[in-house]
Symmetry: C2
Subunit: 799 residues, 2 copies
């Protein structure tokens, strides 16, 4: 059975038949469970074989030195890496003294499935040991969305063909050996065994291990407790040592008999609390979980998700594969953000160690725009995390000679961890991305209290940064120079259009918020002169434009640069950054990811329709999408300029990034921003949503491959619902008060129970833009959405 596996296409889950050991790491990412606080990769219950074992706690990292061949003032000296904490999901099984290991004996059947409606990862395996004894293992795993510190496993083993002696070892394992791979041997050394034992105890069916990280000094406690049911009695023994806790259960099963073990796992960590406090917190969580019981936890999970899908589901007719992908995307975005609670949402969520577990602008620019309209509480928590890092961001600004706050390009805890400043510190736009997320959240929720207590300060400190970073030239234009925009194939350029437009919004939003909250802004030292200086800078903001070509250069001089020689670039030389030096990429017209095109999405008001079409066509020819943060943006603007089939292809690429492993690195963890981007592509691309001003604006369009698109949005506690077909769009308010919106420029007021329909606008067919040779959007294996997977609806559990 091992050696191959097939994934099913199911609108409400992903299923795997068989087991492909070479693709294990990828499957572990796809099957990862998380609540934003705890993350468990989809490793097999028995621990091995594995692609990459992974158990993560949001915010638990180790420090490591950042080395430089030639250092410089302001270079961060210390990096932060997410660590694999104590693994609590291991349940080893001995069958007549032979380990249940799928690499040996005969695997008769193996199926796994992840259900988006109950959040359970289920597994069924039938296996014959090398000695010829057959057992069946059925397990289900969850990371609780309702009990933040808790994960649980329902593990059942039954004898199939004869009496069999069963030994189950349920474990906590700290400092697991990881596959090596770090390029810097010093960094690898630091991360090899990051946990130093502080305490361990075991008794009954329970064990707890407490460790501390060596350099970052974070205290981590992991505990487990068990409920065991056997047909015919069993023995249980508890043991613990520095890096291991173990409960061993032994029994003999006759054919058809089953041993069932429910494992409750709890985690707690703290940088400040004492050992007893953290240990007690874990034991209390275990007690609560045991009290709730497995069925109770499953019921809570199901209820939580039902409510989530009510506000968040995006339904598609005509493309089952895309339907599955977008729900997969929403499910994982939920898992990343649900309970992170004043911690960062990392670029990979808690699904793998990619990017060292760091958070980037991805969160504010891609993930939060989705969560804003379906799980606004998570957005508030994520922005409160940013707010909590303001002291570090102010220190960084001071170090860089700037006013206000400079947020880190990449971090776990809040300090800048980027070791290459032209593509790190110089990407100042992250400040405006955060400010935009604040403004969007406040507009969507009318959460005045948040704005007053947290949002205002974020807006003020970022506006101060922009005012000190830019300057007025002799002609009175406000210029921002020597910065890096989203496109990482350019760096340290002058007047990046995206950056300047986002800074403009940031400055204006800060001035407006200061006006709304005069007492609080005065407490932050803002006076009317300062707010006026922000408004002036915003008004005078310089936006370069190439009159000869009739397009916006991405930054000053960009359109004068030499064109990249795409014809001389063989397919195996992508991604370019692994085959060409930065110096060559930076000085030529080649774009890694949407930059000017993203500016047109987020600041559509700054461009005419004709400029949008010309700019889009110009940058399509240059954009290679070596970043996963591009297809969704290109989808949105392709749809806006009327290239609906191209938009459809980009949407699918964004949505299938991980399911089809298009970047080849899903094994390191899922691309949260691309997953969120798939939702953005649908809602902003085909739904035509724009939310950069005070009101929601829709301009729905559908590609031929989609028969129908519907989605809901939480707006100021009302639930707006859109039903888009090729004939018409119907707006309804499913709960809450009436909502005002703009449809194709027409103002509509949608009252509860009174849906409003408008016919689909007639769109002139537009010639499809060309991409660099070989860099067209990834095509799906079978053509045209409707056929894909329509007969393949299949699910492990009938529901």
């Amino acid at each position: 059975m091992t050696g191959e596996s097939t994934f099913t296409i199911d609108p409400w889950g992903i299923g795997e038949h068989g087991l492909d050991l070479s693709g294990q790491a990828r499957a572990e990412s796809l099957f990862a469970l998380s609540n934003g606080h705890i993350g468990l990769r989809g490793n097999l219950d028995e621990g091995e074989p594995h692609g990459l074992p992974g158990t993560y706690l949001n915010g638990v990292f180790e420090l490591r030195p950042l080395p430089y061949a030639e250092g410089g003032y302001g270079y961060p000296e210390s990096g932060q890496s997410v660590i694999n904490v104590t693994n609590g999901k291991i349940i080893r099984l001995l069958v007549d003294d032979e380990p249940f290991d799928l690499r040996y004996g005969e695997l008769r059947s193996h199926q796994r499935s992840l259900d988006f409606r109950d959040g359970l990862l289920r597994r069924e395996a039938e296996w014959t040991s090398p000695a010829g004894r057959t057992v069946k293992v059925v397990s289900a795993r969850l990371v609780s969305l309702t009990q933040r510190a808790i994960a649980a496993i329902d593990y059942r083993v039954s004898a199939v063909d004869g009496p069999v002696r069963i030994v189950v070892q349920s474990e906590l394992v700290a400092n697991e050996q990881l596959p090596t791979g770090a390029a810097d041997p010093r960094a690898a050394a630091v991360l090899e065994a990051p946990l130093v034992s502080e305490a361990h105890q075991a008794g009954g069916t329970k064990a707890v291990l407490v460790h501390q990280t060596r350099y970052s000094e974070l205290r981590v406690a992991a505990g487990m407790d068990h409920a065991v049911e056997g047909s015919d009695g069993f023995d249980a023994v508890a043991e613990s040592s520095e890096n291991q806790g173990r409960i061993t259960v032994t029994t003999v099963l006759k054919p058809g008999e089953e041993l069932r073990l429910v494992k409750y796992i709890a985690y707690g960590w703290s940088a400040t609390r004492s050992l007893p406090a953290v240990r007690d917190q874990v034991e209390a969580a275990l007690t609560a979980a045991r009290y709730t019981g497995w069925d109770g936890l499953v019921a809570e999970q199901r209820k939580y998700l039902a409510e989530f899908w009510k506000t968040s589901d995006i339904r598609i007719e005509g493309d089952v594969e895309l339907q599955q992908a977008v729900r997969f995307a929403m499910f994982h975005v939920l898992q990343a953000g649900a309970r992170s609670e004043e911690r960062a949402i990392p670029a990979k969520g808690l699904t793998g160690p990619g990017y060292d577990g760091h958070s980037f602008w991805d969160t504010e620019a891609f993930v939060l725009p989705v969560l804003t309209y379906c799980l606004p509480g998570a957005v508030k928590q994520a922005l409160r995390w940013r707010h909590g890092t303001l002291p570090m961001a102010r220190d960084r600004a001071a170090q860089l000679g700037l006013a206000g706050a400079v947020f880190p390009w990449r971090t776990i805890h809040g300090e800048e961890c980027s070791g290459y400043w032209p593509a790190g510190t110089a990407a100042f736009h992250i400040g405006a991305d955060i400010a935009a997320a604040v403004a969007r959240y406040v507009r969507a929720t009318a959460d005045v209290e948040f704005e007053r207590e947290y949002g205002l300060e974020l807006l003020v400190e970022t506006a101060r940064m922009w005012r000190s970073l830019g300057h007025h030239d002799a002609a009175g234009r406000f210029r921002i120079e020597g910065v890096t925009g989203p496109d990482e194939y350019s760096a340290v350029a002058d007047n990046n259009v995206f950056t300047n437009l986002m800074a403009q919004t940031n400055l204006r939003d800060a001035a407006e918020a200061a006006t709304r909250h005069q007492q609080e802004s005065a407490a932050l030292g803002v006076d009317t002169e300062e707010a006026a200086a922000w408004r002036d800078a915003a008004t005078a903001m310089y936006i370069p434009y190439d009159e000869k070509l009739g397009v916006h250069p991405q930054a000053d001089g960009f359109t004068d640069h030499q064109a990249w020689d795409f014809d001389a670039t063989p397919p195996e030389n992508y991604p370019l950054l692994l085959h060409y030096p930065y110096f060559d990429l930076y000085r030529k017209q080649v774009v890694k990811q949407a930059d000017l095109v993203l500016a047109m999405q987020l600041r559509g008001d700054a461009f005419t329709d004709e400029q949008k079409a010309r700019n889009f066509a110009y940058y399509e020819r240059l954009t290679v999408r070596d970043s996963s943060l591009s297809a969704c943006t290109q989808a949105v603007i392709a749809a806006e300029v009327g290239q609906l089939e191209l938009a459809y292809d980009y949407t699918a690429e964004a949505a299938l990034m991980d399911l089809h492993d298009l970047g080849g690195n899903t094994s390191d963890g899922l691309h949260m921003a691309s997953l969120a981007g798939a939702c953005i592509a649908l809602v902003q691309g085909f739904g035509g949503l724009r939310d950069h001003s005070g009101h929601l604006f829709f301009r729905p369009r559908l590609p031929s491959g989609l028969a129908r698109l519907s989605f809901s949005m939480l707006v100021r506690e009302s639930l707006l619902h859109l039903e888009i077909s090729h004939a018409r769009t119907t707006y309804s308010v499913l709960r809450g008060g009436p909502l005002r919106l703009l449809h194709e420029g027409e103002e509509l007021v949608i009252a509860p129970g009174e849906p409003v329909s408008r016919p689909m606008a007639v769109v002139e067919p537009v010639e499809r833009c060309a991409q660099p040779p070989g860099r067209e959007p990834a095509r799906r294996k079978t053509q045209a959405g409707v056929q894909i997977g329509s007969g393949a609806v299949e699910h492990l559990q009938a529901e």
Copy 2:
């Protein structure tokens, strides 16, 4: 006596009275002896106390890893560091069993002097041991300019106040312990004991040690032999071990009696030759040196230097301090280049470990222009070294996706060792600097054979690089983008004027050389189309100009950048790079070192006189001279635009960089380019020499502080001499055939024995330009050149 020292001002040497232990490292650099192959820092004979022990062999380095926090394609993985090789200059002395150590007992007198006419470092010390016995030590040291592998020490010790038992231990010491300081512990570990013993032997008065470097695998042999003379007989014992060779000489001296020991030291190294071959080479050199004898070596040295000064002396009347400084400068430039012979001339020569012993563009842009007219053979050797690195430079170009050759920004062996590409690899101008040095050498010497065999290929491969690095824009202009010019406070900019003008010359010179050597250029694959493409690119070269300001921007957009806030920059924040991040420096108008101003020196033909004056004034306000490679260039252009007193101040700053330790880092080694720059400031500044076209052009000017300036130049085997006073300039040819030159635009033909005089041009007084506050040229302690040191002419040896 220790604790203070004074340096004498002497036109032909530097003398030191007393001994300042805290300033020892600086004095060791000033007193360093070298022939370009062997370099000995001016450490005390007895080895300790020292500032920084140093013995260097040109080309002997160790490899060390270059670490990156975030790596990138094309980043060099391995660095090269000069190493302290086997120290052969140690002669320890025991006085009645107490070590002669100046930190203990009483130092009654201590004097050292370096004489530029015989190249000897002399020392006299009278010391009373803690037990009360007084001895006198008189030593002299040389590194032979005629016998390349040889250094020698004449060491004499005599009893002053009573019979004394003397033990002299003359040593070879490998893997000396060095003061720590390397920031990267891994690099420090690699360099801690870089030599692995291969063989050692001792017998009679001779010892030889052979080692190999651990990673770079270079074989290094060091040997010593001795001639001993004692009044009353002596014993000598020879010993050796892995890291030590020792000859011990014992005697008893009565008052007035002397023990004299002449130590001959020889070095050899090779990357390819066998152990016996390298050892034999060293022993042969020792035999030859003993045969020549101390007096013979001194006589050869004196003769070599007499010939050198005949062609190279720059005489100044009216400023003894500057006179001393410029001869100090010429002497050290000679020492760095004399016998380097197909090896690089490092930025610090062989005077210290600064910059890891690397060579930069300094060599071709500052050192070779001086040597071209006084020691052209050394220029030929230095350029043959560059030629020998062409295979590595071609590989580097291929790695970077360019044609031709990309020379390393910093290297010892030829591979790029720069770990920060924006200020390393991106400084492509080094290719044009090399090409300009080739063209200058060929023009000055008419060495057609060199041009054919070496120069042509250097010109062709650099021209190919420029042609592939640049591109034509839509308007037909040839642009070079994303490169870094000389000013390291800007980086990765478009159309740096210096770079574009130097590339223009490079392209033209290559095309012309290809025309002159058609057969050889065809063999290099150059056809008429390729040469035409070079000419076209040169003709179409884009030189940005700011019409509104009437100045040349250093690069595209520079004059639009925000002005650096000099008023808010306290004096202790210089050099700026240690107190401000690169991102801030790069995006603002602040200049580390002459860039556009250097372009005006090297490509004066590309600017009108009015542009020169305006540009100079503009950049003076922005230039902070945080580099030692700036004052000389500013001196030259200050003189050209008529600001003679400012030029005088800059000349003195360049000349006194090391003697007055203006950069605070003379302890790491001397600034060869600034020393050469002092000569350039005088010859090109006040002599008004320009040599960027086929003929020599002079426009002499003198500041009020100088009564007279005279210098000679070897031009096509003729010796041209200029005598410049405030009244007139007299040109004469001292040997060789007649020379044609331009004086203030007037063509003169100077025949041997027929001097030609022209009156000094009348210069309109020009207002002195302003510099950033606090960044005016370093003022000398006493004002006005004439007074300085005029009564201080003093010399340890009466001559």
